[in-house]
Symmetry: C2
Subunit: 300 residues, 2 copies
């Protein structure tokens, strides 16, 4: 640690904090997951990947795993102003693909479970389908089934599956003392971009199109993840969809190591934005979310 | 056809009709599915099972398929008065297992994607987990992963997977001229039971506990489905979760055959209930829903 004192305990991202502020007391998302997984983990032999990893894995043979992931986008909390339905449905797929990227596994197929508030227009269905298809084309996977229903909230559940050699999957819990931490890109764009979208200020949007686009048109680092897995050099890997700080903390926690940061990788345009807004650029980079980069640790 | 003239075109089940009545104009669920599947079906080689079958299938090899299903329960529309959260989460699993039953495939694992309206109490989480675990014990499968999030509506998405020899899967589209139609049990319990629950009349609930229980504690016919698949006698199979009439019509449509009914299999207690309420027992049996029996056609 060189001159920096960082609190890497999980903090809520900007958005989560806002959502939380609207709640009365109740269990947080992590508590809910912990309680559920405690219940379900009891009911069988140990799974190849813990409940807390980016994806679930089922051993088809000792060496070959079926890899599965479900990730759900909710209209009421996950679609900021200025984001189209097409962008939202594309992002639902990107979020799932990103978890496969972090494990170095190609998702081959998707199930899409859609809930739509009535009345449903043809245009809505077309927009949703276009966004999903667009992401499928980008990441070389396809929709093979799904479900639709009616709800009071728009819900897009994107379920991905793929196959992987057991030894090739990059885990969360493999970080070793002496590893260096590497990331696929600088951070902070999505926290800054979300602030801009929530401000609804057109001038800001035009000034920082890259920050806005990081929220409305994110990319999953699938190619990077596949190459990293093939390199067989990676000891641990996670996607940063819950924020840089939380993801680092999670690797440290499940790998039972400590992490020392001598630099926070802040995106240049985030520094500019933070300077103009009087914000702390490191906080934007550390406590964001839905920023689909990969964080890996590798031997020095 | 012996003295009966039945309209087997898809009708909305009692509940769906009620939901529909609350809507303004918009696309129905079937229109939405058709539009989506037209879009996604274009994007690749033909899938082993059509988008319209009970489950999705992905060919791992030419002979062995990965079988997947997602089925979602929504608090706002799928939990009638008098049904507990534990019963609801159990039913979410039963609905998914039922689709596997109809194909004769053992579901080996589940992902559960939960969305909960804030604030979330410990009791809520415990109830939901208990219902899910209870169904897992009944059907010999286990939860291997999932996701949780926050929504304005309770959403329980149950994703099941299993493996099957391609030749053993019972399809919707295999009905042949001359086949007889067989069902795993008589029908009408859930439409009657739902009416009773919606009436909130305690006396009625006590008088017809089996009808109420068919809604709150349904069973999937997994053993029957597995045995039917092993018999290798079944030409087509579907589960009746969308109602007897609709399911028969669907087999006829995708198999390109006509169906003749000489008898509607009405449950005895449904006849009693219908007599007392001045309702048509055959309508209750034909146009119900969430009645998780199997409907198969086999050579005479």
């Amino acid at each position: 640690v060189q001159g920096l004192s960082l609190d890497l305990k999980p903090k809520l991202s900007t958005r989560r904090r806002e959502k939380r502020a609207m709640k009365r007391t109740g269990l947080g998302e992590r508590d809910i997951i912990r309680r559920l997984t405690e219940r379900f983990a009891k009911s069988g032999t140990k799974l190849p990947l813990g409940f807390e990893d980016d994806v679930a894995a089922y051993p088809m043979t000792r060496k070959r795993f079926l890899v599965l992931k479900t990730d759900t986008l909710f209209g009421s909390t996950d679609i900021p102003p200025g984001m189209s339905l097409q962008e939202a449905s594309r992002k639902a797929v990107v979020a799932t693909v990103s978890d496969f990227a972090a494990k170095g596994v190609q998702p081959v197929g998707l199930l899409i479970s859609l809930a739509l508030p009535a009345p449903v227009s043809q245009e809505t269905v077309n927009e949703l389908a276009s966004g999903i298809q667009s992401a499928c084309n980008e990441y070389h996977c396809r929709v093979i089934g799904g479900d639709t229903g009616e709800s009071t909230d728009l819900v897009i559940d994107c379920i991905g599956f793929g196959f992987a050699e057991a030894s090739r999957i990059m885990r969360r819990d493999g970080a070793k003392p002496g590893d260096v931490i590497a990331v696929t890109r600088t951070f902070g764009r999505t926290s800054a971009g979300l602030k801009i979208l929530l401000s609804r200020e057109k001038a800001m949007m035009q000034k920082f199109p890259g920050l806005v686009r990081s929220v409305t048109h994110p990319r999953a680092r699938l190619n990077a993840g596949l190459r990293l897995a093939n390199s067989e050099m990676v000891n641990s890997s996670i996607d940063s969809s819950d924020g840089l700080a939380w993801s680092l903390h999670e690797i440290a926690r499940v790998s039972k190591v400590r992490m020392l940061l001598d630099r926070v990788p802040v995106a240049p345009e985030v520094r500019t934005f933070a300077d103009q807004q009087g914000l702390n650029p490191q906080r934007l980079a550390l406590y964001g979310g839905e920023e689909y980069e990969l964080i890996v640790t590798i031997p020095e």
